[in-house]
């Protein structure tokens, strides 16, 4: 005979991975984020005719805009800000590994010189 027995776990002892279902943003919020992303993209495109004007600031500005857009999509559209932390860590692990490996590769080939 078998019985079904739920493990006893107090609510405050379930670990951070159990907070997977926090309230996700509303559709209105998603549209707002899309507008922000569109504005950031417009700002990126605006740097194209103004390359000479921006000079050495061009690349840092583009990289910052790129990272902000990346963060908005990952945090809100992919729900990393609201889902279980485990998902974030898995993704960050892949991202960080790739970044470290390929920065070393680029440095080896004297890309930054």
């Amino acid at each position: 005979m078998s019985t079904l027995e739920a493990p006893e776990r107090p609510h405050d002892d379930v670990g951070e991975h159990d907070d997977e279902h926090h309230d996700h943003p509303t559709d209105k919020k998603y549209v707002k984020i899309a507008v922000i992303l569109a504005v950031l993209t417009a700002a990126e495109i605006a740097t194209y005719p103004g390359e000479d004007l921006l000079g050495s600031f061009l690349i840092p500005i583009l990289l910052v805009l790129m990272v902000i857009k990346f963060w908005y999509v990952a945090a809100f559209f992919m729900h990393l800000k609201f889902d279980a932390r485990m998902f974030s860590w898995v993704f960050i692990a892949g991202l960080a590994t790739a970044a470290i490996v390929y920065i070393i590769v680029l440095a080896t080939f004297e890309f930054f010189v």
């Binding site: 019985t3 739920a6 493990p7 159990d18 559709d27 061009l58 692990a93 892949g94 680029l106």
Partner: protein, 205 residues
């Protein structure tokens, strides 16, 4: 007779237990692991492009000679907006609104199709200007990177249309909303990769 005790699935405090040892959905975790590994793939392709972008060979055709930034900007905007329609599809199926889910899934697939059509047009234009896959190290790296991304978008479109068909046949109930969310994760990742490509390949001189 000996009594066998089978532990019941862990039910979280908010009632959304997944019955897994991690407490999170295995398919969703699997998709995140896959996306983590995809970072390595695209990292390699982007690094290769960065290393070879100045190796334009005898043809002498550099990226800036052929890139049509206004056209690619529109393509980028289309793909970015497809992320909005995708997240709206995920939101709609979460509410059990299947009609809207289908609308947003189809809109996402169509926007993805527009992006791919734009990429094919761009590739054709480059070829006509003398930039083929084997013209130079730069062209090989460029076509490999953007081509791989295009293949990912195409696979995403196939998945979106599959979900659309399933929903039409009534085989995508609200209980299977996670399937839409998982395809959504893939789609947003493809969008994120394009955010990187657009900046690193097209905009940075």
């Amino acid at each position: 007779m000996a009594e066998v005790t089978i532990p019941a699935p862990v039910v979280t405090h908010d009632g959304h237990g997944h019955g897994t040892t991690t407490g999170v959905s295995n398919p969703k975790l699997g998709m995140w692991v896959f996306l983590g590994s995809e970072c390595m793939l695209f990292g390699g392709l982007i690094s290769t492009y960065l290393l070879y972008k100045d190796r334009i060979g005898d043809a002498g055709i550099a990226g800036r000679d052929v890139f049509d930034i206004p056209f690619t900007s529109v393509s980028s905007f289309v793909l970015l907006m497809s992320s909005l329609t995708m997240v709206l599809a995920v939101s709609a199926i979460g509410r059990g609104d299947h009609r809207r889910t289908r609308t947003w899934l189809l809109a996402t697939a169509m926007l993805g199709g527009v992006f791919i059509a734009g990429q094919l047009y761009e590739f054709t234009a480059f070829y006509r200007e003398g930039l083929g896959f084997t013209t130079s190290l730069f062209s090989s790296a460029f076509f490999t990177l953007t081509g791989f991304h295009g293949v990912h978008v195409t696979v995403g479109i196939v998945m979106l249309l599959s979900l659309y068909t399933l929903s039409l046949k009534g085989r995508l109930p609200t209980e299977r909303a996670e399937s839409v969310e998982i395809v959504g994760l893939y789609w947003h990742f493809v969008d994120i990769v394009w955010i990187l490509i657009f900046t690193l390949v097209y905009l940075i001189p």
